[in-house]
Symmetry: D2
Subunit: 295 residues, 4 copies
Amino acid sequence: MHIGLVGLGKMGANMRTRLRAAGIEVTGFDRNPDVTDVPSLDALVEALPAGERLVWVMVPSGAITDGVVRELAGLLVPGDLVIDGGNSYYQDDAPHAALLAEHGVGFLDAGVSGGVWGLQNGYGLMVGGEAALVERAMPVFDALRPEGPREEGFVHAGAVGAGHFAKMVHNGIEYGLMQAYAEGFELLAAKDLVTDVHGTFKAWSRGTVVRSWLLDLLVQALEEDPKLAAIDDWVEDSGEGRWTVDEAIDLAVPAPVISAALFARFASRQGESPAMKAVAALRQQFGGHAVRPAP
Amino acid sequence: MHIGLVGLGKMGANMRTRLRAAGIEVTGFDRNPDVTDVPSLDALVEALPAGERLVWVMVPSGAITDGVVRELAGLLVPGDLVIDGGNSYYQDDAPHAALLAEHGVGFLDAGVSGGVWGLQNGYGLMVGGEAALVERAMPVFDALRPEGPREEGFVHAGAVGAGHFAKMVHNGIEYGLMQAYAEGFELLAAKDLVTDVHGTFKAWSRGTVVRSWLLDLLVQALEEDPKLAAIDDWVEDSGEGRWTVDEAIDLAVPAPVISAALFARFASRQGESPAMKAVAALRQQFGGHAVRPAP
Amino acid sequence: MHIGLVGLGKMGANMRTRLRAAGIEVTGFDRNPDVTDVPSLDALVEALPAGERLVWVMVPSGAITDGVVRELAGLLVPGDLVIDGGNSYYQDDAPHAALLAEHGVGFLDAGVSGGVWGLQNGYGLMVGGEAALVERAMPVFDALRPEGPREEGFVHAGAVGAGHFAKMVHNGIEYGLMQAYAEGFELLAAKDLVTDVHGTFKAWSRGTVVRSWLLDLLVQALEEDPKLAAIDDWVEDSGEGRWTVDEAIDLAVPAPVISAALFARFASRQGESPAMKAVAALRQQFGGHAVRPAP
Amino acid sequence: MHIGLVGLGKMGANMRTRLRAAGIEVTGFDRNPDVTDVPSLDALVEALPAGERLVWVMVPSGAITDGVVRELAGLLVPGDLVIDGGNSYYQDDAPHAALLAEHGVGFLDAGVSGGVWGLQNGYGLMVGGEAALVERAMPVFDALRPEGPREEGFVHAGAVGAGHFAKMVHNGIEYGLMQAYAEGFELLAAKDLVTDVHGTFKAWSRGTVVRSWLLDLLVQALEEDPKLAAIDDWVEDSGEGRWTVDEAIDLAVPAPVISAALFARFASRQGESPAMKAVAALRQQFGGHAVRPAP
C-alpha cells in the first residue's frame, strides 16, 4: 500500500515512521524542506495512483487544514480518499466532506490520541464516515493503532464528524482527569504530615483505583522534579477543551468538572484577575476591609 | 436602658454610637485604652444592674470570644444576659449557652450584617435563643436594626445557634453574589466592544433585575477607579465562607456557586498554583508540549 | 414624537403603555389581531414620517427578529432608524446594522432589563450604536428608563452590539445571583435549627450586605409559599446564560459561578442523569457497591 | 508469620485469603459467626504471641473502628502492634496511636485501595507511622500489595495519619476521575452523530491519553449494558470525598473538580432540589415566567 501524508510535524513525522515500519509506503509532504519527501502537494498527488489515492492530512486545525483540503479538492480525482487526522473541529468535517464529494473524492475524519508516545505505543483512533471508506483505509488504521485487539484502539464512531467529536470528548475528559490528579497533588504537597508526595503517587501505580497512564506520567515528572520546582504554573489550552464545553452548553449537558478544568487553565495564564480585583474592591467598600495596592 | 458592650473595634464602636443615638446608655469596654469607657471587664460588669445586666459581646470569633464568654460566666449573676454579636461559628453557641446557664445567665447569638455602613443604615440582625430573652433585648435590637418594619431587618431565626447559622449562610450567599458581579465585570472589561464598563454597571442601578446594594458599591468603586487599577487581585476570606461550604457538605446540599466563589479567593492568594504546575508537567510528558520554566 | 413598535407580547405591550404614558405616540404592530394597532408591518411604516421613522423591534430573538429586520430593510427609507430591543445575540447586530445601512437606515441595539415590573419601575437600558442615533432616540430611552438620573438606568455602552453584549452579561450575572440565593435557601431549609426561613430572608431586606431586588422577590415568593411546595424544581434557561459562558470561553475568562448556575438549570430538567448512571456503574464495578436498579 | 485480622467483611475476607495464599498465618475475627475463625476478640489476642502481636483492623471507620481500638488497648501488651487498614478519618489516627502508646502498643495507619479486585490484583497501600514499625509489618504489606516493585504499590507516606490522609486524597482524586469520564459519557450519549458509545470508550483502552483502570471498568459496564439502562442515577458518597473537600477548605487549596464531583453525587440523591425551586420561583416573580407546578 502506498499513501500520502500531508504534514510532518511532531505527530506527522512519527506517524510516517510507524506506518513505514508496518510496511506501508508513505510519501510525505511538508512545507519544511528538511523533512518533506516531495517538493509540493502536486508532487505528492502525482506520486500516488490516480483514483485510488489515500491522502492523510495531519496539519494544524482550522485555516491550515481547510486550505489543504481545498487544495486537495482541486488536485484529486474521483475514487481518491482524504482522511483528516488533525484535531479539527467536528463541525468542519461535513463541509469538507461535501466539498470533496463534489469532486468524487471520499472523506473520513480521524481523531488520533497518543501524543509523542504514539510512535512506540500506537495511536488510539476514532473514525467517522462511510463504512466502505473506513474498510478501505483499515490497513492504515491497523498500522497506526496499538497492538492488541482492533476494537481496543480503534472505533468507527459514526458518520462524518463522529471521529473528531469523539476525539473532542476524549480531550475534554483528559482535562478533567488531569485536574483531578493536580488537585490531589496540591493537597498532598500542602500537608506537612505527608513527607513523600512522589512516593505516594508512585505507590498508586499498581492495584489502586486511580491507576492510569496519566498517573504514570505524573510519577515520571515527579521523579525528575519532586516539587515541580522548575515548571511554571502556566497552562495552555487547545481548542478541544473549549469545544467540549461549548458542546455541553449546546446539548444542555452539565459539565462542571470539564469546565472547571478549563477555567483553571484560563486562570493559570492571567497575570492578574480582574474578577478578583472587583471582589477586593467590594469588600473594601462594604466592610472597610484593607485591600492590597496593586503591585 | 443601660447595657454593656465588650469590643469597640470598627463594628463595636459604630454600634455604641448608634445605640447611644437611640437613647440607650452604653458602657463599653475594650483593651484599647483610647476607646474604652471603663478600665476592665469587671468595671463594666460593676457599672450595670446585677441580675438585669445585658452584655453585648462584639469581639473576634473563636478564642477571643470564647475567652470573654468564660470571663463573663465568672462575673455575671443569675438573671443577667449575654449576647454574642460577633461572627462566631454557630456550633460554639450551644457550649457558651450551657456554660452561662450553669451560672443562671442567659445567652443569645446575634448575626449582624451591614459593615461600616451599619452606623448610618442600621444593621440586619439574625437572632437565636429563647423567645423571652429575645423579647427582653428587643429595645437593643430595635435600636441597631434599620428603620422600617422590624421584620425587614430583624429575625428570631430559631434556638441558640440559629442566629449565627443564618449569618453564616448570609455570608455564603454574599460570596456567591460578589463573584457573580466580578465575573460580569471581567467579561465586560475583556471585551473591546464595550467602551463604558463603569457606565454599564451604573446603568444597572435602577430598573434592572441585578440591582442591589452590592451593585451600588461596585459602581462607587468603579467611579473612583474605573479599571480598579490601584487594587490588587488578592482577596482574603473570613471563616464564614468556609463554614458555609463545610455545612453544605455536612448537609449534603450541593453548593457549586458558593464553593466556586470560595475557591476563587483561595486561588487569588496563591503566588503560584501547585495544581497547575502538575497539569503543565503532565502536558509536557504526554504531548511534548513546551512548559514555561518557573520564574 | 411618534414611533413604531413591532411586537406586542408581554414586554412590548407594557412598553407601549409606558411610552404612551410619557406622551410618546406609539403605533404598534403584532401578528395577534387582538393587540395590534395596525394590520401589517407595511401599515405601521406608512403611519410614520418617511425619513424620520423610528421603529422599535421587540420580538423573540433569532429567526423572528431576523425576519422583521429584513422586512423593515425593504420597507424603510434613508434617514429611518431601527432599534432592536429584544434579547438578540450581540453578534447578530452587526449584520443587521450592515443590512439596514445598505438602505440608508440606521440601527441601534438596546438591551432591556426589568421584566414585568418595567411597566411600573421603568426599564434598565444598555444601548449600542452611533452616538448621533443614540441622541436622536433619547426621548424614547428617557420614557422607558426608570425615574432618576439618566445614567442610573441607561448607558450608551459602545458601538453596535455593545448594548446586547452588556445585556447578555447582565443576564449571566443574574444567573449567578439567583443561584447564590438559591443555595442559601436550600442550606437554611435543610437545617432544623433554623425555624423561620422566610423570616430570615425577610430580615435581610434592609441593612444587610445581601439586600437586592432579587432578594425582595424571593421574600415575596416565600410569603406566598414558605416552602415553595407548589413549585417544581424545573428551570428553563434562555439563550443569554449560554451565550455568556460561550463568550467567557471565547475570551478565556474564568466563569465558574455563572457556568455552575447554568449547569444547575440543565440538571434541573433532566429526568435522569446519564453521567451519574456512569458513576454508579463504575462504583459497582470496582467496589462491588450496590446500585439502585433504574425505576 | 502469624497475625490477627479483625473484620471479615468484603474487604477483610479477601485480604485474609490473599495473606494466607502468601504463606502468612491469619486468625480472623468477625461478629458474624459464619466467617470468623475465633469466637471473640479475646480469643484472637490469645491465639497470637504476646508482645509480638500484629493485629490488622479492617472494620467500618468511625465508632466501630474506635471501639475495636479501645478494646484492643485493653487486651494487648507492650510490644504488640495495631494496624488500622480501614477508611478511617486521618485525624482519628493520632488519638488512637496515643491511646495504644499508653499501653506500650504500636500503631500504624494503612490506606488500602483496590476494592473487590484487590484479592486478585493486590492492594495499593499507603502507610503512616514510625519507620521501625513499618519495617516490622513489611511482610504483611508485601503480601497484600500487587506484584512488581514494592514502591509501585506501597508507600510509607509519613508519620501517623499520613497513610489515611493519602488514601483520602486518593479517593478525592477518584471522585474527580469518575466524574470526568461520566461527563464524557453523557456528552457522547447525547450526540446522535455518535452511533457507537461503547465502542468509543473501548477504543480508548490502548494508546490514548485517557486510558486507565477506571476506563476499563466503564468499558466493561457498557459491555454488559450499553446505555446503562438498568442502573439508577443515584450515587452514594463515602466519607472520604467529603473529608477531602473539608481538607481543601482547611488548607485553602482550590478544589473545584473534586468538589463538583461530590456535589454531583449529592444532587443525584435528591428527589427534588430546593435550590432550583427557589430559582424557578424567582424567575416567576420577575419575569412572569411560567413555573411547573410541583408534581
